[in-house]
Symmetry: C2
Subunit: 580 residues, 2 copies
């Protein structure tokens, strides 16, 4: 477990990053099997969180007597985000919670009466009030899995009217979740498994829920912790944080520090004036020949702020060092306080850099730490944690790796949480079968043509253990078998096809919601389990598919029988033009 080992090694090595806690989640994970399923995390997720046209269509279906036609919808993406060749699927649990608790309230119905045309018959609203998902089945790829365009993430089957009503909400729940989980996985990939990744995005998120669900899915995708307390409380994600520039500038001088006593870490005695001790440490550093060329006078209000913070958190002292000047003030001031703590038996954590040339500042800070360790015999100073923040994105991480740096942890906000490089994933929800009849949606743009039929999907693995190809087959076809040769065809490109003899065949779909049928369904895993599943899935991919730059596309195919059927239906539905 690479992420955990990053955290473990940090802690075992006497490093921890700021103040942390892993408090218990507020909500119990949804029970699998026959247990009841809690409502969606966000109470705003109700059947009204949908597009108006779902309700007008519902009325038209009801009016035509089609409300109970058995329909199959596929939820799929057509393109991987961020110029990559994979997507991490997330949001499934929220979809299941939504379906399990789907019911219009009386107030919802009253509102709908006001917005629907007066011609709408009363019977429709009574019908709508009784609609639920008791006859709906949801099959899906496991949450946290690596997945690819065209292979549906969810297959939703049930009475036409209700599965149509689910469309917008499940898209809302899957699109951003999968996008930001994929983004997090990509950041993890380029940062490396030995770095601590902290999500700091809340203030720039798109609405409060963008922040909360963003924190959750970044953790799923491979981040180690969040700054967001609400997400920490709700999902049991580790939380981290120290102080901001405002804390530093809120101090004017040492006179503001009234209570200056600090007990030694072993409780053996008490330092009566910790402020005096930090000032003495600073003087000693200023007088040390090996440090003299680094700095002269530092900013004293900053030193006062650091000293005060250390008095509050002697066991977890970490300082933001760029309020006035990183190398001339912040780092020496931090070291003065850290040395004073050291004399009392405490170990400071480290610094955070939030502006400027992060490569240069981290390297220089590391040199300074080592010089202090050597000069004063302060064991462990050389490897104090250096955290970097300030608009970090994939490219910054890659550039830092190339430039060389001494950063141990990254705090990443805006670029992660808003998916700045590509802020939307385009999942769609398409009708593929009705009353057993396959349906197709054509388009001028071939990537928008849907693959008809209720389908089963498989991942075929090669001899070396890597996934070779995903294969979609009609629900009535026999599944591919390990060791048997099968023809895999590109769904739309006639000449692209290959024979595959899989060493292993993995069925991709499991049933996550079976209505009131009593059919067994998969339990909903905990967030930790999803995160671990995601990590294993990413490791199981061939590295050329998941690399950040110029990755190789993964193959997605259909069976020969499905291929023929797609093209039969296409010609059948497309009108033949007439040239004049």
């Amino acid at each position: 477990m690479a992420e955990t080992s990053a955290r473990d090694s940090a802690e075992e090595g006497g490093r921890n990053v700021g103040i942390c806690g892993d408090g218990g989640a507020r909500e119990a994970p949804a029970a699998g099997g026959s247990g009841s399923i809690p409502p969606p995390t966000n109470p705003l997720v109700t059947p009204l969180l949908t597009d108006m046209y779902q309700v007008t269509m519902a009325y038209a279906y009801w009016k035509a007597g089609k409300q109970n036609d058995r329909a199959v919808f596929d939820l799929l993406h057509r393109k991987n985000p961020f110029g990559g060749e994979y997507t991490v699927f997330a949001g499934l649990e929220e979809c299941v919670r939504f379906a399990a608790n789907f019911r219009f309230t009386d107030a919802d119905i009253e509102y709908l009466r006001t917005v629907m045309p007066p011609v709408c018959e009363d019977g429709f609203f009574s019908f709508l009030k009784a609609v639920d998902c008791s006859e709906v089945d949801i099959h899906a790829i496991a949450e946290g899995s690596v997945c690819f365009p065209r292979v549906p993430l969810l297959r939703v089957e049930g009475p036409l009217l209700v599965v149509q009503l689910l469309e917008t909400t499940v898209l809302t729940l899957v699109n951003y979740a999968s996008l930001v989980a994929t983004n997090a996985a990509r950041f993890r990939k380029v940062a490396g498994h030995d770095k601590l990744l902290l999500e700091f995005g809340l203030r720039r998120a798109q609405g409060p829920d963008g922040g909360i669900s963003g924190s959750k899915y970044c953790y799923l995708g491979g981040f180690d912790a969040t700054s967001n307390l609400e997400a920490g409380q709700r999902f049991g994600i580790p939380v981290r944080g120290t102080h901001s520039h405002a804390f530093v500038s809120s101090y004017m001088s040492f006179d503001e520090i009234i209570d200056r006593k600090l007990q030694r870490s072993d409780g053996s005695s008490t330092c009566e004036d910790f402020v005096l001790l930090t000032m003495q440490c600073l003087k000693r550093m200023q007088g040390a020949p090996s440090l003299q060329h680094w700095f002269g006078e530092t900013n004293h209000s900053e030193l006062a702020a650091f000293t005060s913070y250390a008095l509050a958190f002697p066991t977890a002292f970490q300082a933001l060092v760029d309020t006035y000047d990183v190398l001339k003030s912040g780092v020496p001031n931090f070291c003065a306080v850290a040395l004073a703590l050291h004399e009392l038996g405490f170990k400071a954590v480290g610094i955070r850099l939030d502006s400027g040339d992060l490569s240069y500042f981290s390297v220089e800070s590391r040199k300074f730490f080592r010089a202090v360790e050597k000069e004063f015999g302060a064991q462990g100073f050389g490897n104090m944690v250096i955290t970097a923040s300030n608009d970090i994105n994939e490219d910054t991480l890659d550039a830092l790796n190339k430039q060389g740096h001494e950063i141990d942890a990254y705090g990443i906000g805006t670029q992660l949480i808003t998916c700045y490089k590509q802020p939307a994933l385009g999942c769609v929800y398409k009708l593929v079968e009705i009353n057993g009849q396959p349906r197709i949606k054509l388009s001028e743009d071939v990537t928008k043509v849907t693959i008809p039929c209720k389908k089963q999907c498989y991942r075929l693995y090669g001899k070396e253990g890597y996934a070779l190809v995903d294969l979609m087959v009609g629900d009535d076809e026999s599944p591919p078998r390990a060791g048997e040769r099968i023809l895999c065809r590109h769904p739309f490109s006639e000449s692209r096809r290959a024979f595959v003899v899989p060493s292993r065949v993995e069925p991709l779909y499991k049933c996550y919601w079976s209505g009131s049928s009593g059919a067994p369904r998969e339990p909903l895993p905990s967030l930790e389990e999803l995160r671990e599943h995601c990590r294993r899935e990413l490791e199981a991919q061939r590295s050329d598919h998941v690399r950040a730059f110029n990755p190789t596309p993964y193959k997605v195919s259909v069976s020969a029988k499905l291929y023929d059927f797609i093209h039969f239906l296409w010609l059948n539905e497309a009108p033949v033009g007439e040239l004049h």
Copy 2:
């Protein structure tokens, strides 16, 4: 009111766009004056929706006895979004609701105990439990105003500990709100005031709340309606919607339509087989010489779907015409149904185009409508509404304007709601004064240096009625007066300054929250009032500041006294380097 007149003219002209309703809002607008203020719209917005470091800082402040130091924080942006030169300020009401209801629950405190280091003293948690905003003042620019970088949108004053705790949440509430309102205003600007703008973004929004608050602030910024029912219900925004491709593909043939009766619009008689009537209309169109070159056989399952939809909504028939082929199938099928409706005294609404060349298809569809009007004397057919959707952004709108088109309404989703062009606004929250002492935050990057002091802000208008410059002055300075000459200086660039004799001076700040002081505060306007204020503000700007391409920067300045003070403080706080 340009937006309203867009809607009015559409409706007066016998056009309306799909099915619509303006149902009442669920929540009463917050009462101003002494009334109680409801909690934030999203129940996830609680004091825990914040960064961990706010709480660690709170502990350090409390430990140092600084919790009640009187602090002033400015919330400001440093750069306008989307390459533009203005920002629409939004999110204020939610900030006020948050402050008015700020209280940690027992469960919050219990959670915080688990994540704070064990050294934290019990007294802190008891203190935290009692913290509220009764001693906090919030001054702000009016919501919906046009505003500019460096001029604080909010000035939050009160005890250091609590105003620090507000930081992350108010940033979360303002950043996305202002970003998406600005985006909506920009789309409106380029689309023109005579187009109907519909927000269709929910499915691609960043989390459910991104969708709900996005709909609200797009309406504020100038959109006419949303597809989002939850937002419609909550905020009283008009809602719109018709049907999707799935509706069309859910029909296989006419056999599925059982109840085929349709009463004439005047109730005088009943058509016993509306399906037969539409098929007859299609035949007549196919036989008409003026239409023959347009199309041959159309897709009959599409015609069945349209017919069925018209039976459900004879007064509001609008069809999505690109499921199979726009010009060969969708438009002729739509016209066949519209003609049948026409014979029974109904007026069809129009079509929606969702793919392909929108300019070409709209122009061709309009020609076809006119040809049908002429051929069959079907009055009003020529000016049926053409709505366009499909990943529309500012550039698409601009290109369509240049290419020429016949589009009356736009449905805009992804690019609007996720602010695809720039998905984050970088508002920050900076300490500018503590216990009457001005504070500054320095940075290597001069745009990140904060302007110290508790300030007042004014907008100075010139003779022609346009805003000339925004001016910040220290709170202790006398305000600028109309007709008096005043020196306005760039805050950081020594040589950039100008004398201004304003014809009018507008103070930008009003008090929106005054704690329990009893001081008067502004009422919180309704969403309609905010939208109207925004429209007036945008009209009052000089056109070169608000144009989409290469706009002119608006001037933001400080008084001569404030200028001198900034630079005095800067030199005072910045350490002097030593060259060796």
